[in-house]
């Protein structure tokens, strides 16, 4: 791990009129670190994710990212072109619904290759080889490379979405309920795969989930949100095994009863 954080979040708030989306959120994310943001629906975790991933401008506060040249840049002071370039090179975003992150009428190979083409790769053979390699890494059979994700199962679609995001070797990946729509057995396999990829590649990730089991398996550290605020933060095992905030205690115990 580097001696500098990758992301610095300073007092980020988002208001919708008088309603609070998220309020006064500050934290740092380090290279290779996986942070889970946990809460029920309406807790503000998705609003926070959107603010971090430049999908939604915060009302106040700043989000700084350490670029590959080592310089911190305020994401909301970058031009839109710079932000979009960052999003398709150094970042990934894994949507809960794979259809939101894939081109459903384009082959699996082209779905993976698109980012390479977007950054100027103009050699078909190399693009295809990289796509084939990535399909293998997410356990999609090589002979499915020319099939459209429409023909894929939910679990395969999600793995394809992950490959599409990772092909440019991003340093930071945002995940929004990455196992949300999947059967339990499929979820387990995907979580194993994600955990392996994240540690092999040394990825930093921010994973938004309502599922404490996902947080337990994937994350090093977690933040618990309620009503737009962080109510507890700490190492994942510590928070889950010895929750301090009353709300976290309630959350952990109610999950354990399920």
């Amino acid at each position: 791990m580097s001696d500098m954080p990758l992301l610095r979040v300073n007092a980020v708030s988002k208001f919708y009129g008088s309603r609070i989306g998220c309020q006064n959120v500050s934290f740092e994310l380090w290279p290779g670190e996986v942070l889970a943001v946990v809460g029920e629906s309406g807790s503000g975790k998705t609003t926070l994710l959107d603010c971090l991933a430049t999908r939604l401008a915060p009302s106040t506060g700043s989000v700084e990212y350490r670029m590959r040249d080592g310089q911190f840049r305020d994401l909301y002071r970058m031009s839109e072109a710079e932000r979009r370039f960052l999003m398709r090179t150094d970042w990934g975003f894994v949507h809960q619904n794979p259809a939101d992150g894939l081109r459903m009428t384009v082959s699996a190979g082209a779905n993976v290759g698109e980012r390479l083409m977007a950054v100027g790769d103009r050699h078909y053979g190399n693009i295809r080889a990289a796509a084939a390699d990535w399909l293998g890494r997410v356990e999609i059979a090589a002979d499915r490379i020319d099939d459209q994700p429409r023909a894929f199962s939910g679990g395969m679609r999600q793995r394809l979405q992950i490959a599409r995001n990772l092909v440019t070797n991003p340093r930071l990946v945002f995940m929004d309920e990455p196992t949300g729509g999947l059967d339990v057995s499929v979820q387990a396999r995907l979580l194993d795969l994600l955990r392996g990829l994240v540690s092999d590649l040394g990825l930093a990730a921010i994973v938004v989930t309502h599922d404490l089991a996902v947080a337990r398996l994937l994350s090093h550290r977690m933040m618990v949100m309620k009503d737009g605020r962080i109510v507890e933060t700490g190492l994942t095992d510590r928070v889950l095994d010895d929750p301090q905030a009353p709300y976290t205690q309630l959350l952990v115990s109610s999950i354990l009863q399920v």
Partner: protein, 300 residues
């Protein structure tokens, strides 16, 4: 149709023409960029080249000579009616000769005879947005153009190669204009793409239904998109034109009889006839009955 005589020169009122000319000037200033304009109703249905007709109407003057082609031919229904329209509403000179024309309105072809300084080629465009088929959201395609995010164009070519082993796109083959905007050259065959590159003529594109005008000024760089290991290539034909013997012109297959007999002839009828009048011959040119079939065939 004598009441047409009461219309303004070239049908459109002067205010509308000025509006279209402003769009054209902006398009020339930003080569390959699609400029929105307030497309007017024309006395012909969309799909008949109302965009091209409006561009021509906005730029044509009494001293111009107009040529209209459809699929390379001057004598198809679409070309004949557009030419007749301009004769009625502007009484300009018309011609079928590429070399005599100052304005050539076209659908689906660029003439074989190299265009010259001072000539203007007006394309009729059905769908101006090259990214449309992969990204249906107009707000997103505009952003992609603005930010020069053209990876998606190569996704389309990638899909071609993955499916067919080569880039199978033969019409409306995307180009990059002056190193900046990716542009749809309208449904011309990719055979014609190289003719757009550094052409001395002004090239204007009008899309009536979609309300867009774009342009390639003279001597502008026009590069067809491709991959390093699958470079852009134009169509080639294994035989010369059956009527004029030309090699290296774009050929149409013309059905000769109901037993499946056919011949390949230049799609550019003016070019072909010129060559024949200069004494060039193809292997079927001696037979006048076949020549008649040619004329009928291109009207298909």
């Amino acid at each position: 149709m004598t009441e047409l005589a009461t219309y303004n020169f070239a049908y459109l009122d002067e205010q509308t023409k000025r509006m279209i000319r402003r769009a054209i000037l902006k398009a020339i200033a930003i080569p390959g960029y699609q400029v929105p304009f307030a497309s007017r109703e024309m006395p012909m249905p969309y799909g008949w080249g109302t965009g091209g007709v409006q561009v021509t109407a906005a730029i044509i003057g009494p001293n111009d000579t107009l040529k209209v082609i459809d699929q390379g031919a001057d004598d198809t229904t679409n070309a004949v009616s557009i030419r007749a329209f301009f004769q009625k509403v502007s009484s300009v000179r018309v011609t079928t000769k590429t070399t005599e024309a100052t304005i050539i309105q076209t659908r689906h072809r660029i003439p074989e005879t190299a265009l010259q300084t001072g000539q203007t080629l007006v394309y009729q465009v059905p769908i101006p947005e090259p990214l449309r088929f992969l990204e249906p959201r107009e707000t997103e395609t505009r952003k992609m153009h603005a930010l020069e995010e053209y990876g998606l164009m190569h996704v389309k070519l990638y899909e071609d190669i993955a499916r067919h082993g080569h880039i199978a796109t033969t019409y409306a083959y995307p180009v990059k204009v002056e190193g900046r905007y990716v542009m749809d050259p309208s449904p011309t065959p990719k055979f014609d793409n190289p003719k757009m590159h550094r052409s001395p003529a002004l090239q204007l594109f009008g899309a009536g239904r979609e309300k867009r005008i774009y342009a390639i000024p003279p001597y502008t760089e026009v590069v067809s998109l491709d991959f390093e290991d699958h470079p852009f290539e134009i169509q080639t034909f294994s035989e010369p034109c059956a009527l004029c013997g030309a090699r290296g012109s774009y050929l149409d297959e013309v059905i000769l009889d109901d037993k499946g007999g056919s011949m390949f002839v230049c799609s550019d009828t003016d070019f072909c006839e010129d060559r024949q009048s200069e004494g060039h011959q193809g292997h079927l040119s001696a037979n006048p009955a076949q020549a008649d079939t040619h004329a009928a065939g291109v009207e298909k």
